[in-house]
């Protein structure tokens, strides 16, 4: 068992089927699960589907959890698998055109600045969303959750070397895609100073 006292107690309560324990487990991890799903899919509706799916899997399989790994690591594996499952089913959407047009209705510098910031964020997220799924999930675990290479390797069931190599490849791809963007943003930052 690698669980600490409180975690072990929570798991055991869930394994006994105590409703409050399920709720406590949900409260503990809902933001992590949702954040990973949202950053992976870049779509709120898909993120909700993945988060729901992950918690259903967690609740239905907690009886089999033996505590050989940390609960958090196990949860990361569940959400990663849900993301990869979802990726195979999803259809691509173009959700941002409407939002962009909506923003154009506003005028004034603050609205323009907000629009630029949102556009920048969106371009970064879109660039991440365009990565191959195995690289994208590594990026999300690294930058959304701040996991170490070792923790990512554990969540994905691969070696640290594989994690490093996927991150490296993802950085190179993002570097190319965002080079122009970073330059433009650097320019706008100079103007603000």
């Amino acid at each position: 068992m690698v669980l600490d006292g409180a975690e072990r107690e929570l798991v055991e309560s869930c394994q006994r089927g105590e409703r409050e324990a399920f709720r406590a487990l949900f409260e503990l991890y809902k933001d992590k699960v949702y954040s990973i799903a949202l950053r992976y899919t870049n779509d709120e509706s898909c993120a909700m589907d993945i988060a729901q799916d992950t918690f259903l899997k967690l609740f239905s399989s907690i009886r089999d959890f033996r505590g050989h790994a940390r609960l958090e690591s196990w949860l990361y594996r569940l959400v990663v698998n849900s993301c990869l499952d979802h990726k195979r089913r999803r259809r691509r959407l173009l959700p941002f055109v409407g939002q962009f047009l909506e923003e154009l209705r506003f005028s004034g510098e603050s609205a323009l600045h907000k629009l630029l910031q949102q556009e920048l964020s969106e371009q970064v997220r879109s660039a991440v969303a365009g990565l191959p799924s195995e690289q994208r999930i590594v990026i999300v675990l690294r930058y959304t959750e701040g996991l170490s290479y070792e923790e990512i390797a554990e969540a994905l069931g691969c070696s640290k070397g594989t994690v490093a190599s996927r991150l490296n490849r993802a950085h190179s791809i993002l570097e190319r895609r965002l080079a122009r963007l970073a330059k433009e943003e650097g320019g706008s930052g100079d103007r603000q100073n």
């Binding site: 709720r23 949900f26 809902k30 933001d31 992590k32 699960v33 949702y34 954040s35 949202l38 950053r39 709120e44 909700m48 988060a51 729901q52 918690f55 259903l56 899997k57 609740f59 239905s60 399989s61 089999d64 033996r66 594996r77 990663v80 698998n81 990869l84 499952d85 195979r88 920048l120 964020s121 970064v124 997220r125 991440v128 990026i139 999300v140 690294r142 930058y143 959304t144 959750e145 994905l156 069931g157 950085h171 993002l174 570097e175 965002l178 080079a179 970073a182």
Partner: protein
């Protein structure tokens, strides 16, 4: 530039707060298929038992044969697309049971590296467990059917284009392993930690 990208990624991919209605969605979502009480199946099972017995030997041979072909196709395709990726036998067993009702008693053997599961067919269910032993890939396909006993005498073994496909039936499920390993018996450790000592015999050669 990489440092800059790392900064941008941390800034634009920061964690979010889950919407408050997520819990309501989790609570109202349809649960994974619960196992039906077996006693409900008894009358139906009794009604079809005679018919099943008559057809049994012919069907078993056909089923294992088609499963063996499917196993070979999976191995030959070299596909990496999986429905569930894990190296943990407990997780894989639980996932398969939750999604198909099939029970595959995978063991934890150090020499076996499990890769994941592909759901090949929904009705009737057929799953494929992908694994590696010593760098060689193997595919274990399982479907419902075959004999009801725990023992599984060899039904058929065929070799084709450097791959060996072994198929058998046990405990109401049919199995087929396709591998390019020289000794297909090495795949026995998927379910048997020590085939020599196991109470459930491995497919005999």
């Amino acid at each position: 530039m990489i440092d800059r990208i790392e900064v941008e990624l941390s800034r634009h991919l920061k964690p979010m707060v889950a919407p408050s209605y997520l819990w309501a969605r989790v609570q109202t979502a349809p649960r994974a298929k619960a196992r039906k009480p077996r006693w409900l199946l008894w009358p139906a099972a009794a009604a079809v038992a005679a018919t099943t017995a008559l057809c049994y030997f012919n069907v078993q041979s056909d089923s294992t044969s088609s499963l063996a072909k499917a196993a070979f196709r999976e191995l030959a395709s070299g596909s990496e697309a999986l429905d569930f990726r894990s190296s943990d036998p407990v997780e894989i067993r639980a996932w398969i049971e939750a999604h198909t009702g099939l029970d595959i008693p995978l063991a934890s053997a150090h020499s076996v590296h499990l890769i994941g599961v592909t759901l090949l067919r929904n009705s009737p269910c057929m799953v494929c467990v992908s694994y590696r032993i010593g760098g060689e890939k193997g595919e274990l396909l399982v479907a419902r059917g075959g004999s009801g006993g725990p023992k599984h005498p060899l039904i058929q073994r065929t070799s084709f284009r450097g791959a060996t496909v072994t198929s058998w039936a046990a405990a109401g499920q049919i199995y087929a392993i396709a591998t390019s390993m020289e000794s297909p018996h090495s795949a026995c450790i998927l379910c048997h930690l020590d085939p020599k000592r196991s109470s459930t015999p491995t497919p005999a050669g």
